[in-house]
C-alpha cells in the first residue's frame, strides 16, 4: 500500500473538481480554496442503452477509434475549400436529372414534407416548366413521377428548404486538398423566396433572372478574378463579426469587393451590372451559399473513415433532423426537427414557425456558425442574450469537439481556434448538444423568414448513432 499520492495531496494545494451540488464548490471558494464546478447532467440523459454503449466503447474497440478520429480531424483541418466556378446543376451535380428534386436534410417523402419544403418543391417544378400551375405542380409532386433525394446524397447542400432542380445555376466549390467538390444554389435574398417555400410569379421570375443574368455575370467575373480561396475568406470574416451561418454581412461585403472590379469590366449593359451588384448589396446572406458548400466539401473529406465517430453531416428537412457519422457511411440517424427557440420579426410569433429546416447546419458541422458564436457579438441581438452568452456557447462546444481549428479563430477568445469536429461520444456523454444558429421559416409556404434563434437538435439521433457505432465497433 503506497500512500505517496495521499501525502502529496496533504503537502500541496487542494484543487477540487466539484460535480453535483454547486454550493460545495462555492463554499470551498469562500474558504479560499480552488474549485471548478461541473454542471453535471446524467450521461446520455440517463438512457441505459446509450450509457452501456459509452461504457462498451471505452472498454475497447475493434478499431483504434482515437486514431480514426485523429485522421478525420487531420482531413478537416487540411481541407482547402475554393470557389472554382458556377455551373448548371444538370451539368455538374452528380446524378442530377430533370425529374429529380434535391432537398435539404435527411430523406423525406412528399406526404411527410413540411409546408415550406412543399412550397419550394412546387416552386421548383414550376421553375422547371414541368407544370403550369401550382395545383398541377402539387399533383405532379404527389404522383410519384418526381423523384426526391437529399442534397447530401449528391455532394450538395441547400439552405432552408434547400430545393435544387436541374436547370438551376450552382456554385462549384472544390476542396483543393482532396479534390472533392460540393454544390449549392445561389442565394435569392430575403422575403418571398423559394427556400422559404414561396412560389409566386415574382419568385419564379427572380430565379429565372438569376439563371439568365446574375449567374452568367458572376461566372464571368469569377473567371476574370480567378478562384476564390474560401478558407482564407472565412477566416477573415470571423475577425469581422460574422460567425458564418446567421451573420454574413462581412462575408457578403468581401465577395462584393472581390468581384466588383471584374464585374464592371464585363461587356454587358451597365444597367445589368448595376442590378447584379445592387442585388448582392441588398442581401446580407448572399455569402451563406458559399460558406455552406465550403463546409460541405471540408467535412466530406473526413467521411467514411473506418472507426471514426466524428459527425460528418447534420441536416434538417423541416420534419426530421438527421446526422451521419464518418465511420458509419450511408446511415442517417434521425429525430424530429426541433422548434426554434428564438425571437420573431414584428407581427409574428411561435405559432407561425415551421420546424427547424435546412442544410445550413453544415457550417456548425465544420466548426463555424453556432460554434463560432463568440466571434459574432452582434448576432446576440438575433438570438437573445448578451455577448457573454455568445462566448459561453462557443466555450461549451469545445467540450464536444475533438479539435480546435487552426485557420478559423475567434478574436474574443484570444484567437483560439473554433471548436471543430464533433465527437458523438462526447455529445452523448455530456448531453451538450451542438449549438445551432438558424433562421425561422413561416410554417405556411411562401411567407418567408419570421425570426431567428437557436435550435436544439433531437438528442435521440445522437444516441442512436452512438449505439449503432458501438454495435459495429465495440468489442
Amino acid at each position: 500500500m503506497n500512500a505517496d499520492k495521499v501525502l502529496k495531496l496533504f503537502s500541496g494545494e487542494l484543487r477540487a473538481v466539484n460535480e453535483g451540488l454547486e454550493s460545495f464548490a462555492e463554499n470551498l471558494i469562500q474558504e479560499g480554496g480552488k474549485a471548478i464546478h461541473v454542471e453535471w447532467r446524467p450521461p446520455a440523459g440517463g438512457d441505459a442503452k446509450a450509457i452501456a454503449a459509452l461504457d462498451a466503447l471505452s472498454a475497447g474497440c475493434s478499431v483504434d477509434v482515437e486514431a480514426a478520429n485523429a485522421e478525420a480531424v487531420r482531413r478537416i483541418l487540411a481541407s482547402k475549400p475554393t470557389v472554382v466556378g458556377i455551373g448548371i446543376a444538370a451539368d455538374v451535380v452528380p446524378g442530377m436529372a430533370k425529374d429529380l428534386i434535391l432537398h435539404a436534410g435527411p430523406p423525406v417523402r412528399w406526404e411527410n414534407m413540411c409546408g415550406p419544403l412543399r412550397g419550394a418543391v412546387i416552386g421548383g417544378i414550376l421553375y422547371e416548366g414541368l407544370a403550369a400551375t401550382a395545383a398541377e405542380a402539387e399533383a405532379l409532386a404527389a404522383s410519384g413521377k418526381i423523384r426526391f433525394d437529399p442534397c447530401h446524397h449528391h455532394n450538395a447542400v441547400g439552405p432552408m428548404a434547400g430545393v435544387m432542380t436541374s436547370s438551376m445555376p450552382v456554385w462549384i466549390v472544390e476542396n483543393k486538398a482532396f479534390g472533392n467538390r460540393a454544390y449549392c444554389t445561389l442565394n435569392e435574398g430575403l422575403g418571398k423566396v423559394l427556400r422559404y417555400g414561396a412560389y409566386s410569379a415574382e419568385v419564379i421570375e427572380r430565379l429565372r433572372w438569376m439563371a439568365s443574368e446574375l449567374a452568367p455575370i458572376l461566372s464571368e467575373a469569377l473567371a476574370l478574378r480567378g478562384e476564390l480561396d474560401m478558407k482564407t475568406i472565412i477566416a477573415q470574416v470571423l475577425q469581422m463579426g460574422d460567425e458564418g451561418h446567421n451573420r454574413n454581412r462581412a462575408g457578403t461585403s468581401i465577395v462584393i469587393r472581390e468581384l466588383a472590379p471584374h464585374i464592371v469590366l464585363l461587356d454587358r449593359p451597365k444597367a445589368q451590372l448595376s442590378k447584379a451588384l445592387a442585388f448582392l448589396n441588398a442581401n446580407d446572406h448572399f455569402f451563406l451559399n458559399l460558406t455552406m458548400p465550403s463546409a460541405k466539401c471540408t467535412v466530406d473529406a473526413a467521411a467514411g473513415i473506418e472507426g471514426s465517430c466524428i459527425i460528418t453531416t447534420m441536416a434538417r428537412n423541416g420534419t426530421e433532423f438527421g446526422i451521419r457519422l464518418s465511420g458509419l457511411p450511408g446511415r442517417w440517424f434521425t429525430g424530429p426537427s426541433g422548434v426554434v427557440d428564438g425571437l420573431y420579426l414584428p407581427g409574428f410569433g411561435p405559432n407561425d414557425a415551421a420546424r427547424d429546416i435546412g442544410d445550413s447546419v453544415i457550417t456548425e458541422t465544420s466548426g463555424i456558425g453556432g460554434f463560432a458564436m463568440a466571434a459574432a457579438p452582434a448576432i446576440v441581438k438575433f438570438v437573445g442574450g448578451s455577448p457573454k452568452d455568445a462566448i459561453d456557447v462557443t466555450l461549451r462546444m469545445y467540450e464536444i469537439t475533438a479539435a480546435e481549428n487552426d485557420a478559423y479563430q475567434i478574436p474574443a477568445l484570444d484567437f483560439r481556434g473554433t471548436p471543430t469536429a464533433i465527437d458523438v461520444r462526447k455529445v452523448v456523454e455530456t448531453g451538450i448538444l451542438p449549438a445551432i444558429n438558424t433562421g425561422i421559416a413561416h410554417k405556411e409556404p411562401g411567407i418567408g423568414m419570421v425570426g431567428a434563434g437557436l435550435v436544439k437538435p433531437p438528442e435521440n439521433a445522437f444516441r442512436d448513432a452512438l449505439i449503432a457505432f458501438a454495435e459495429k465497433y465495440a468489442q
Binding site: Y344, L345, G349
Partner: protein
C-alpha cells in the same frame, strides 16, 4: 482622452443623490428633476452626462460601495463643485458623500469623500458636430437629399430584418404596441409620446429623441420649434431619466449613439452606407430596447424631412 462634460450638465456647485449604479452609467438625481449621468467614455455621452474616461472604473467601484452599503436608502450623493473660490478656470471636482441619517456601518474601501478632479475636462456639444457634418455633406454627390434617401432605405431594411428583444415594446403587439398605434392618430402626436411606454427611460422618450435627431437634418424648420416647445411643456409628465434625455434632444444634442447614426447618415451617399450600418448595429445594442425605439423614431424623423422637402 480627457474627461468630458455635457453642455447641459448644470454648472457647479450642486449635489445630487445617487439613484443607480449600472454597468455603464451612474445615475444622479439632480434637484432640477432630471438625471445627470456619469459615464465611462465618449460613446456613452449625452448632453447631461460627464464622461470620466480612465477614472471611470475606480469611481464607479467606489460609488457602488457607497450606494449599496447605504442599503438602498439612497443616501449616497455626488457633489459637483469648484474647489475653493479663487480661480474662474478651475477644474470642477466630483466627490462621493454618504449623507446624514446613514445607519449602517461606515462603508469600506474609502468610498466616503472619494474625490475626482476633472482636470482639463472638455465641453461636449454635438450641435457643432451636426453643423460641420451638414456642411461637409452638402457638396457630396447628390447632396443631402440623396444621403437621406439612402439612409432611410438602409435603416428601413435594418429594422425590418432585426428582431426586437421584446414584443412588449411600443413597436410590438402587446398593450403598449396597440396603444402606440392609437396615439399615432392623435393631433398632438408625436409630443404625446412623452413618458409613454416601458423602460426606466420610457420608450416614447427614446422614440422622440430619435425623431428629433433625424428631423433636425432637415434644417431649422419652424415646425420643429413647435414640437420642441410642446415637449418641453410636457417634461413634468415623464420620469427623471426621460427628462434628461429629452432636454438634450430638444436642445439639438441627442445621445452619442444617435449622433453617430446621424453623422453616418450624412455620409451615407458618399461611403455606401458602411458607417451607417455599423452605427445602426451599435445603436441597436443600446439599452434594453432604447436603441430600437429611438431608431424607429429616427426613421419617422427622416420620413418627415422627405415629406417636407429638405432645404437643399
Amino acid at each position: 482622452m480627457r474627461p468630458r462634460i455635457g453642455f447641459l450638465v448644470p454648472p457647479p456647485d450642486w449635489s445630487a443623490l445617487i439613484v443607480g449604479v449600472y454597468e455603464k452609467a451612474i445615475s444622479l438625481l439632480h434637484a432640477d428633476g432630471a438625471l445627470v449621468s456619469l459615464v465611462r467614455g465618449a460613446e456613452d455621452m449625452e448632453a447631461r452626462a460627464i464622461a470620466l474616461d480612465e477614472s471611470w472604473d475606480i469611481f464607479a467601484w467606489k460609488a457602488k460601495q457607497a450606494f449599496e452599503e447605504a442599503g438602498y436608502k439612497r443616501q449616497a450623493y455626488v457633489d459637483f463643485r469648484l474647489p475653493g473660490s479663487s480661480g474662474v478656470n478651475q477644474a470642477p471636482c466630483i466627490t462621493l458623500r454618504i449623507g446624514e441619517g446613514y445607519g449602517g456601518a461606515e462603508p469600506s474601501h474609502g468610498a466616503q469623500g472619494f474625490s475626482l478632479a476633472l482636470d482639463d475636462a472638455e465641453p461636449w456639444d454635438t450641435r457643432d458636430e451636426l453643423r460641420q457634418g451638414c456642411r461637409a455633406a452638402l457638396p457630396a454627390d447628390g447632396g443631402l437629399a440623396a444621403a437621406i434617401a439612402a439612409s432611410l432605405a438602409m435603416l428601413k431594411a435594418f429594422l425590418a430584418q432585426t428582431i426586437p428583444e421584446s414584443s412588449d415594446g411600443i413597436g410590438g403587439g402587446g398593450s403598449f404596441g396597440k396603444a402606440f398605434t392609437r396615439l399615432k392618430e392623435r393631433q398632438d402626436f408625436p409630443a404625446c409620446l412623452v413618458g409613454f411606454g416601458p423602460g426606466t427611460t420610457p420608450a416614447g422618450d427614446d422614440w422622440l429623441a430619435g425623431f428629433l435627431a433625424a428631423a433636425e437634418l432637415g434644417g431649422p424648420l419652424n415646425r420643429l420649434a413647435g414640437l420642441q416647445a410642446d415637449i418641453r411643456q410636457r417634461l413634468p409628465s415623464t420620469g427623471a431619466a426621460g427628462r434628461a434625455l429629452l432636454l438634450g434632444a430638444i436642445a439639438g444634442a441627442p445621445p452619442a449613439y444617435l449622433s453617430r447614426v446621424r453623422q453616418a447618415c450624412l455620409r451615407c451617399a458618399a461611403d455606401g452606407g458602411s458607417a451607417l450600418s455599423l452605427a445602426i448595429e451599435a445603436a441597436l445594442g443600446h439599452g434594453a430596447s432604447s436603441g430600437r425605439d429611438s431608431l424607429e423614431g429616427f426613421q419617422a424623423g427622416l420620413e418627415s424631412i422627405q415629406d417636407f422637402s429638405p432645404r437643399d
